[in-house]
């Protein structure tokens, strides 16, 4: 996530340039033949950038520009972010685990060339993994790499200090391979900005300026017949309003921009070509209570809060109607449907204010004169911390406050700065927070990040990702079994996941609100073969990540 302060600052300063700053530089790409087909056209992309582009094509940097991952640099395998178990060979054509998951042997694709003409080999793969081992600053996922060795030009073996069955996606799907012959001279790969990138991807950098940058087709790309479009031009817009104006005017072919009332503001401008996808499989918005403190160490209180919330209303009013109901199994659907216990698949979290009150009464709470329940002299009152200025969350909390008040629960909202929020959630300095859960792309990771004892810490110490302080021996045991199960043994993995889901439904450690949505707009005037709900061959968010390049190389000129 970008720094909200910077984002908001720029967004605010930008309203002044609302009209002026709009879509300068859009549209005309020096289309010499004027045919207007995408064959001769560069498609226009907006990935959410709202400030001047700074050249950085370093795949190990957190600040690299959109497209660095997978449009330029490629990973070994592609794990489809929109469909579970959809794994495609990229720079590797095959893999097998050995030594109980501590060794990963990969077959590397033959005949791939770096964009400077140098052949790509297993040496480059081994070099990349050893580089990450030697520079922990770029080991963002803390991979326990011992050594990577290339046996011959098409075979590489990577040794780890512990089993990595559950981390195949992070190893083969999210490590972008860099050329040994250039990067071996780089002293500090974390600070390198790599302004003249040499990569294996389907596109290469054609031009770069503060206003926009262009990728053009790589004529020597390894996959026959791809890519079909001439290139991609990345734009920036100072404010959401100017991006929407450009979209409405048909100046963008692919964008990921929140648009309130999208049918009116975008689709209706050109119903034939203006399409959108609502990608809602990335984040689960949750109320995360502090389980180490009263009142939320009581399951009755958590259930009462959940029962009092009308999620239909919250999604409709606070999240513009784009969010989707979250499964009590805490896995996004339909992406993980195969791994959700059948009886929880379509189950919604109930809305039943009367039962909310009964639940409290059965737990020994009695309503005080002020209309708020109390137990042993303690009123049922708590404070939710939210990041200052996250207005959809703040609206959602306003709605919840009213709903909870009507069942005798007092909820207060405290807006804190982003910095303070980060610290407070890590150290457990809160009654409750509202935030998004996300994963590293596996079902295991959803549960391990959110609910494993090893990812939490006592109050006052920094928790890695389990901020609610949830600890449960049977969840931990199931996760341990999964860590020692090869990824192809799906039934065994499923059995463990179902155990975890039973516990989560029973105990309701966190209170799911919605599957958070990301709107992706695309126009079919210049491009076709964009992923759809039916053919979701890749996640369509035009931000960083392994999916973007897959979409780019599979797009076809329209007509």
């Amino acid at each position: 996530m970008r720094s909200p302060l910077a984002r908001r600052l720029l967004a605010a300063l930008a309203t002044a340039t609302l009209v002026v700053g709009g879509a300068a530089g859009c549209g005309d790409d020096g289309d010499a033949d004027g045919s207007g087909t995408a064959e001769g056209k560069i498609i226009n992309v907006f990935s959410g950038a709202n400030a001047g582009f700074v050249p950085n094509f370093n795949p190990f940097s957190q600040n690299s520009v959109a497209g660095t991952h997978s449009v330029l640099y490629e990973a070994l395998l592609y794990f489809n972010g929109a469909r579970a178990d959809d794994v495609q060979p990229q720079l590797a054509t095959g893999y097998e685990f050995a030594d109980n998951g501590r060794t990963l042997n990969l077959t590397v694709r033959d005949g791939v060339k770096w964009s400077d003409g140098t052949p790509f080999t297993a040496e480059d793969v081994a070099f990349t993994f050893n580089l990450i081992r030697d520079h922990q600053k770029i080991n963002h996922n803390g991979l326990p790499i011992v050594e990577a060795v290339a046996a011959d030009p098409t075979h590489v073996s990577i040794k780890f200090s512990q089993g990595v069955y559950t981390r195949l996606n992070l190893i083969a799907g999210r490590i972008y391979i860099v050329p040994k012959h250039l990067w071996s001279a780089i002293a500090d790969p974390s600070a390198f900005t790599n302004e003249k990138p040499v990569a294996t991807g389907a596109f290469t950098v054609a031009s770069f300026s503060q206003q926009n940058y262009v990728f053009e087709r790589n004529p020597n790309y390894w996959e026959a017949g791809k890519p079909k479009i001439k290139g991609l031009r990345f734009h920036q817009f100072a404010s959401a309003d100017s991006a929407i104006a450009a979209l409405g005017a048909g100046q963008l072919d692919w964008a990921g921009s929140f648009i309130a009332d999208i049918d009116k503001q975008y689709v209706s401008r050109d119903p034939e070509h203006n399409k959108y996808l609502n990608e809602s499989q990335l984040y689960l918005t949750n109320l995360i209570p502090n389980l180490d403190k009263a009142p939320f160490n009581s399951v009755a209180v958590r259930k009462a809060v959940s029962l009092a919330l009308d999620r239909d209303q919250i999604i409709k009013l606070a999240f513009s109607g784009y969010g989707k109901h979250a499964s009590p199994a805490q896995l996004p659907r339909p992406l993980w449907d195969d791994y959700i216990k059948p009886e929880y698949k379509d189950r919604k979290l109930e809305f039943d204010p009367a039962r909310a009150e009964q639940t409290l009464q059965q737990d020994g709470w009695t309503k005080g004169a002020d209309g708020i329940y109390a137990k042993a002299g303690r009123r049922l009152s708590f404070t939710v911390k939210v990041v200052q200025g996250y207005n959809d969350y703040i609206s959602a909390l306003q709605i919840m406050t009213q709903a909870l008040k009507s069942v005798g629960i007092e909820m207060k909202t405290q807006e804190v700065s982003f910095t303070a929020f980060s610290t407070d959630q890590q150290t457990g300095d809160f009654d409750m927070i509202i935030t998004n859960l996300y994963s590293e792309g596996t079902a295991y990771s959803w549960y391990s990040r959110g609910f494993a004892s090893k990812t939490t810490a006592p109050l006052g110490q920094q928790a890695g990702s389990n901020y609610g302080r949830y600890r449960n021996p049977s969840v931990d045991a199931a996760l341990l079994v999964m860590e020692n199960t090869p990824p192809d043994q799906k039934d065994a993995l499923r059995a463990e996941l179902f155990k975890i889901q039973d516990v989560l439904v029973e105990e309701l450690p966190y209170i799911p609100i919605q599957q958070s949505s990301s709107l992706i707009e695309y126009r079919t005037e210049n491009i076709s073969n964009f992923p759809t709900e039916q053919n979701h061959y890749a996640l369509t968010t035009p931000y960083n990540g392994p999916d973007m390049g897959i979409v780019a190389k599979n797009l076809l000129p329209a007509g």
């Binding site: 200025g389 207005n391 609206s395 709605i399 009213q402 807006e415 700065s417």
Partner: protein, 308 residues
């Protein structure tokens, strides 16, 4: 009758003369100033809304399914994207904005009087130190600094925001007051008081401050405007905490009210900021005219059309 001697400071500016206290025709003249009356009227109206308004309207955060409706009898200023009533929000936000403005005005004025007048009167090292202090704050980029500080403050209510805004709001006034104090300090009657053995604090309080009053009042009004505007800017960046007009604009902008054409959501708070700013500015102009007679425009006698 009052005797007024006109004096000039180093730049040749006319400075307020010494008023021998036998009544103050200048103050009386103020009441006839249309600028002042209009300004006071506007500010007074918003002040009244700030005091009693929130008691009369309902909960501004109450949501409903009536989303993004235009103004009607049920919702005087329409509704937001979560079905909240814009009129209620405007009334409650008036209190937020006005409280911040008032607190910033008071704090900035107190600090600027302390730093400016004490420094100007004491002279020497004290003056140099205090001057350096205010000069440092004068060259600090106000809004960026405030944005940074605000982002690090854990929780923000109206008072916290007002405190932060005040940090950079006093320095300009301190300089103005110091300059004026320097000129007053060398007057005969101050010398006389000093020779007669009056302590410094007494001289400042009874001889110098009364003559600075119009200037202080002008600086106060100026600080109030600054406070309201800075708070609105902060809130618009999502750093508010006072539930102010700026907060309303922030929510409207984030919910794309402009693209959706929901003018009733962002025009009223914007207009309120502009009106209060204008009202305070009018008050400030009339005070300026009091301080600096050359700014006064001759008022025409309505019956004869001749300048009085």
């Amino acid at each position: 009758m009052a005797t007024i001697e006109t004096q000039h400071d180093v730049t040749g500016e006319v400075v307020p003369g010494v008023v021998v206290p036998t009544g103050r025709p200048r103050w009386r003249g103020l009441l006839h100033s249309r600028k002042l009356v209009t300004g006071l009227g506007i500010v007074g109206f918003f002040g009244l809304v700030a005091v009693v308004g929130p008691l009369l309207v309902g909960d501004p955060q109450l949501v409903s399914d009536d989303r993004l409706l235009g103004p009607s009898a049920a919702h005087l200023l329409g509704t937001t994207n979560t079905g909240q009533d814009v009129f209620r929000q405007l009334v409650v936000a008036t209190r937020g904005s006005m409280v911040v403005g008032l607190v910033v005005g008071v704090l900035a004025t107190v600090v600027s009087v302390l730093v400016g007048v004490v420094g100007g009167y004491a002279g020497g090292h004290t003056d140099e130190g205090l001057s350096l202090f205010s000069n440092v704050f004068l060259v600090l980029p106000g809004l960026p600094l405030v944005v940074l500080i605000t982002d690090y403050v854990q929780t923000r209510g109206a008072l916290a925001i007002a405190l932060i805004v005040s940090i950079t709001a006093w320095a300009g006034s301190a300089r103005v007051l110091r300059a004026q104090t320097l000129s007053l300090r060398s007057r005969d009657y101050v010398d006389a008081a000093r020779v007669s053995g009056e302590p410094g604090w007494r001289i400042i309080t009874f001889e110098i401050l009364p003559n600075l009053l119009p200037l202080i009042a002008a600086q106060f009004v100026f600080a109030v405007i600054g406070g309201i505007l800075t708070e609105a800017a902060l809130a618009f960046l999502g750093l508010g905490g006072a539930g102010s007009w700026g907060t309303m604009l922030y929510f409207a902008q984030n919910s794309q009210a402009l693209s959706l054409g929901a003018w009733w959501w962002f025009v009223p708070p914007g207009l309120a900021i502009a009106l209060v700013g204008a009202g305070l500015a009018l008050i400030n102009f009339s005070l300026d005219e009091l301080i600096n007679p050359r700014l006064r425009v001759a008022r025409r006698d309505r019956r004869t059309g001749r300048a009085r």
